[in-house]
């Protein structure tokens, strides 16, 4: 059982405020670039905000600090949310968000670890991130390091066989420093995941691969923080099913599959910003 409500109201209000600002950045970036993935980014915002502003040990001024917790965006198309968060944390100047998906920018469409401070791995062809993450986690275990590897997968992503290869591997090497998330919004590029290639029962799949699972509301900060706290104590790899709404925070984008990879027009952009400004 989750112990709910353990976070102070002030803290959750602060996280809500952060998330709202990040959502505005996401919509702005994708609109300006006229390219990018807005729906999945908005849906994953609360989880990533909770990780970077409440849960993870990290130093924006020292991105290679060895004791940092690592976050790997395995659903690599959702760069708008991670770039907005990294910029807001101070990993690079916020003005650089304007260069997203432009020639010469370090802010590539999908994460490019060598160039972007705070990005831990090249991901985006799906399934790579979780494998890379468990490889990193194995490396840390060999050294006796104590930090965590938070890996965010899309639900469509884990239709990839490689994700399940990684699942077996993490179980074999007892990688209890891995805490994964499935961003469970039931939508992928071509439609509903259960129509395209069914994933349910999702938690029991992971359990049968030797992972501990939790299911939580991926938009509820108390639940996110409490669930991760529980997961940190587990002695096996953990997969947290985060139930989310694709497009969260902008009414006309919520649960609409067409907002997976379509950039907002000028009107959509203005309406989205208006909603987000009134939303808090």
């Amino acid at each position: 059982m989750l112990k709910l409500g353990s976070m102070e109201k002030e803290k959750t209000d602060l996280l809500k405020e952060k998330a709202n600002g990040i959502r505005k950045d996401i919509v702005t970036m994708v609109h300006r670039a006229n390219s990018g993935h807005v729906g999945g980014s908005l849906g994953a915002t609360d989880l990533i905000v909770a990780l970077y502003y409440q849960i993870m040990k990290h130093r924006p001024s020292q991105p290679d600090w060895n004791e940092r917790d690592r976050f790997i965006l395995s659903k690599g198309h959702c760069t708008p949310v991670i770039y907005a968060v990294l910029a807001d944390c101070g990993y690079f100047p916020k003005s650089e968000l304007e260069t997203f998906r432009r020639p010469g920018s370090h802010l590539q469409g999908h994460p490019y670890q060598p160039k972007t401070p705070g990005i831990e791995a090249c991901t985006g062809t799906l399934g790579l991130g979780i494998s890379t993450g468990v490889g990193m986690a194995l490396g840390a275990k060999l050294r006796g390091d104590n930090h965590y590897y938070y890996i965010l997968c899309g639900d469509g992503e884990i239709q990839e066989g490689q994700a399940w290869e990684a699942a077996m591997f993490a179980n074999k090497y007892k990688l209890d420093n891995v805490i994964g998330f499935v961003d469970r919004n039931y939508l992928q590029t071509d439609g509903n995941s259960e129509d395209i290639m069914p994933l349910d029962p999702l938690a029991s799949k992971w359990e049968s691969f030797g992972w501990k699972t939790y299911t939580m509301d991926g938009h509820n900060f108390e639940q996110i923080v409490d669930t991760v706290e529980l997961a940190q104590k587990d002695t096996q790899p953990v997969m947290i099913i985060a139930n989310t709404t694709k497009g969260k925070g902008v009414s006309f984008m919520e649960n609409e599959v067409n907002w997976h990879g379509t950039p907002p027009t000028k009107d959509d952009f203005e309406n989205a910003i208006k909603e987000l400004e009134n939303g808090i």
Partner: protein, 310 residues
């Protein structure tokens, strides 16, 4: 003449490096007996990770280990490393230029009995087209060992290519292994023969035979296919009548095309390519297949004569 496995050279190289490089790790994908990494496992069990039949995961895991400062050597057959796990090789390793070494065995037609499904004849072409990659194709056991040691000392992704069979030891190519440097074995001026990998043996036989007929041969062994030793290739193009390339690989995308590309731009001359002629292989003994698909000294000589007649 002594025959030894190039894949044994790989693992003997790893064993030689192990003490000096504690961050060196070895991964395999359920072919440890075949790749010979089982010897490393026996000596350093805590630094060996059998990933099971998971080549894709293995290459991305290797990328993760490299990100954490290790030097992972991921070992499997060439077809699996480049075709099955092509995305992982490209996006997890080559794109971020991570310090991962891929030890690919069972490459080329001499893989033999397993047949076309397991004979990597396109792996060099695939890896050559990936930016940031270095490709090493040693010619015998000893050079395989030296290439492995050089790969460990080099920072960046390296594809190491080995065969399945036992191949003759070629004393002419021992010593002085440097990534990116060709070994000029004969300095003749009539015709050039450029080989990579185990084809150095047939190249030597061809060169000796031509020399006995009074032909002056430039014999070049090219254990680094990428980055290729451009200067040596250009000199051969300028100073001899033409070039025969020989590789245990498709004529598409490998050494032959690399050489042809260089000379076409800067010093045009005739280039004939010995290799798989855009066909799949089949089951058979290594020697039988080399005969059938034209990987012999006589095939090299035939091409050399064709150029000289021209």
């Amino acid at each position: 003449m002594e025959f030894k496995h190039t894949r044994q050279g790989y693992v003997d190289g790893l064993l030689e490096l192990a003490e000096e490089y504690p961050e060196l790790l070895v991964l395999d994908a359920d072919v440890a007996k075949a790749t010979k990494t089982v010897d490393f496992e026996a000596a350093y069990p805590k630094r060996f990770f059998n990933c099971g039949v998971q080549e894709q995961n293995m290459l991305s895991v290797a990328a993760g280990l490299a990100l954490e400062g290790y030097i992972p050597f991921a070992s499997t057959f060439g077809v699996f490393a480049t075709c099955r796990a092509g995305d992982q090789l490209r996006n997890s390793i080559a794109y971020p230029k991570l310090n991962v070494k891929v030890g690919a065995t069972h490459c080329g037609i001499t893989t033999g009995g397993d047949g076309a499904s397991h004979q990597a004849n396109e792996d060099i072409a695939i890896v050559r087209s990936l930016p940031n990659m270095t490709i090493l194709v040693p010619g015998d056991y000893e050079e395989a060992k030296q290439a492995t040691i050089a790969a460990a000392k080099f920072v960046g992704p390296v594809y190491l290519r080995f065969g399945r069979d036992k191949y003759p030891l070629i004393p002419e190519i021992h010593g002085g292994f440097t990534i990116g440097k060709a070994k000029v074995l004969k300095q003749g001026n009539d015709i050039s023969i450029i080989t990579t990998g185990i084809m150095v043996d047939e190249g030597l036989k061809a060169a000796n035979s031509l020399e006995s007929e009074g032909v002056s041969v430039r014999l070049i062994h090219m254990p680094t296919v990428k980055p290729i030793d451009k200067e040596v290739v250009l000199n051969a193009a300028k100073e001899t009548k033409g070039i025969v390339t020989a590789e245990e690989h498709s004529i598409i995308g490998g050494l032959g095309e690399a050489v042809a590309g260089i000379v076409a731009e800067e010093a045009p001359c005739m280039v004939h390519r010995i290799g798989m002629q855009d066909v799949f292989g089949e089951s058979g003994q290594a020697g039988e297949l080399m005969d059938k698909f034209g990987f012999r000294a006589k095939n090299i000589i035939e091409k050399a004569r064709k150029i000289m007649r021209n």
